[in-house]
């Protein structure tokens, strides 16, 4: 394997990991702070992608569409919270699973009815559409580098907010001892709403920046939701830094595994056998990692402090 290939795999893994982090961040907070299992979180990712598609077509400009999409993603998140989720905070996890599952079904179908079942694409914004020369034969798109930069910036901003602001302190406190925070006179419902709205917006943002690279299609959020759950379990529920480490880890393992599993296996096995089990094994890697972590370190890599 060449060094270029390895470099590119790492960059891709990093990019995928940061995308996962944007989704997992909201999920882990909603889960950690409110004890709420929100399956519809993945659908917010899809909503973000469709919003940027619709607004780009409408305004003809990526940047204004970006602002509009973020605002809309936030509003849709708040609307769902108001209409459905706030009635479920006191209910069992299984009720939450069932209700948010119903929302997934509805929004996936709505996307199909409004935009058609086919795969959609949008162009990368003009200013980021170039590519830089990595090796003699291969260029790496600027847009991908930009998403890595933006993802890192978001991660740092989120980390600072959680660590140093009053809201962040309340969120941390809320994730470990919600009764205590409420007893101190904090409006816990208000706090929930903020966490929820921001979480939805972050997932929407992930969908927006993913849209120009990956194709936009109904149901695109379903599988990434499962991976995001894997990330927060590996990282430790309610922990932002845990989600970050786990997201990067999952991103790298998945990307490197898919590319290298077959190659590594072919040292041991016949190439046709390797071709057969390699991809299956690669798809399993992150689940094997999660199962191992759950068995040996059940609270995740970096559990939220005091989490019970």
């Amino acid at each position: 394997m060449s060094f270029t290939l390895f470099l590119i795999l790492c960059l891709n893994g990093l990019q995928y990991g940061l995308l996962l982090f944007l989704i997992a961040a909201g999920l882990t907070l909603v889960f950690g702070v409110m004890g709420f299992i929100n399956l519809a979180h993945g659908v917010q990712y899809m909503v973000g992608a469709y919003l940027i598609f619709a607004f780009t077509a409408l305004t003809g400009n990526f940047w204004s569409a970006l602002i509009l999409s973020l605002v809309m993603a936030l509003l849709i998140g708040l609307l769902l919270e108001y209409a459905v989720f706030r009635h479920l905070y006191e209910r069992s996890h299984l009720d939450q699973v069932l209700a948010t599952f119903g929302i997934i079904i509805f929004l996936n179908e709505l996307a199909k009815v409004l935009f058609g079942p086919a795969t959609l694409t949008i162009a990368t914004p003009e200013i980021l559409s170039g590519s830089i020369q990595l090796t003699e034969q291969l260029r790496y798109p600027v847009y991908r580098l930009a998403t890595i930069g933006v993802g890192l910036a978001m991660a740092i901003a989120l980390f600072l907010t959680i660590s140093y602001t009053r809201t962040g302190m309340l969120i941390r406190a809320g994730s470990t001892t919600p009764e205590m925070v409420a007893a101190l006179g904090v409006n816990i419902k208000q706090l929930f709403r903020i966490v929820f709205g921001v979480g939805a917006m972050l997932a929407g943002f992930a969908g927006i920046i993913a849209a120009p690279i990956f194709a936009i299609e109904p149901g695109m959020g379903d599988n990434i939701l499962i991976i995001a759950f894997v990330v927060i379990i590996i990282g430790g529920v309610g922990s932002i830094s845990g989600a970050f480490v786990a997201a990067i880890l999952v991103g790298l393992i998945d990307t490197l595994g898919r590319s290298l599993a077959t190659e590594l296996l072919s040292f041991v096995f016949d190439s046709s056998v390797a071709n057969q089990i390699g991809p299956a094994l690669a798809s399993m890697l992150i689940y094997i990692l999660m199962a191992a972590i759950l068995v040996f370190r059940p609270k995740g890599l970096l559990p939220a402090k005091g989490a019970s």
Partner: protein, 389 residues
Amino acid sequence: MNTTIKSAATATALSIMMATSSLADDLKIGMVVTLSGPPAALGQQIVDGFQLALDQKRGMLGGQSVELIVEDDELKPDVALLKATSLVEREEVDFVVGTVFSNMLQAIFKPIVQSETFLISPNAGPSTFAGKNCNPFFFVTSYQNNQNAEVSGMVANKEGFKNVFVMAPNYQAGRDNVKGFNQTFKGTVTDEVFTPLGHQDFSAELARMSTSGADAVFTFMPGGMGVRLVGQFDGAGLKDSMKFMSVFTTDETTLPGQKDAAVGFLAAGNWAPDMLNEANKAFASAFEKKYGYIPGGYAMQAYDTANLIDSAITKTGGATDDKDALRAALREADFTSVRGDFSFNNNHYPVQNFHALKVVKRDDGKFHTSFVRTIVEDYKDSFAGDCRM
């Protein structure tokens, strides 16, 4: 007065009789295609192509008025099975037309042929039913799945490619296509890469391509995967250093998403929308006029399927009860295929010509595959020998 009533009554009675008799003679055709999820566009082409042929014959095939029942398999085997059995048992259809995907065909195959209903596939052509499991009640109007890839290997030989990078998704059809290509390609396959189904990010594969030293890439990436791959291939700037050759990757269903990035890419197939025979010119223009998009192979094969049924029902004089007579009529394939010469092999898979195709941009800004040259004539699949029929 009296007579008027009488004649009116007779007229009513007569019209009721006619109505019931035409009801009784109604030809019932069930269709099982994928109309949900990302590949829904493929199923829609099949519905549209079939409907166009029906409309052109004023809703009749072989002189019989047709009731068409369209079912969506949702790309789930259990759903496909349930829809298929309901078509056969509840609706008691005369024909089932389907499916888009081979795994859906596997799911519905047995209950349909066991009920002695004719099953005609307008797209899926797996090897499973071409060899020893071929069936007297099963016909394919598209191709055998491996054939397009086999022809791609011949195209690669003709273009003079020495080293080719081969890539496909890791499932049965993907492996079949790779096998098909390797079977006919005479040069060296530098890499054989299998990606997961529904793969999103091809940059690792593109990096491998760039260092492989191959002069062309051959791939099979249907639907959304193809849209992503072509966009990322272009983005990585590989278009200048290697040729792109594919099957079911740059076709009329994906080109609206791929646009300029795909222009000049090579493909292989049994047809292109700009083929010059009269039947095809009429078909392509009528189709685009009615549905507002350029038809792909899926629509063409469905159109041919309707015409095949039309020819067979004409031959039997409208009867569908005598299954042997109907089968014999279908086997003759006595209709004008828009792709040119068409006949059935002993396993009821087509014998037809295959061509090299190329993606072009039309003056009005739309994209389609274009006929380049015929590569092989009267091409038969390699499984028919095992079929005892």
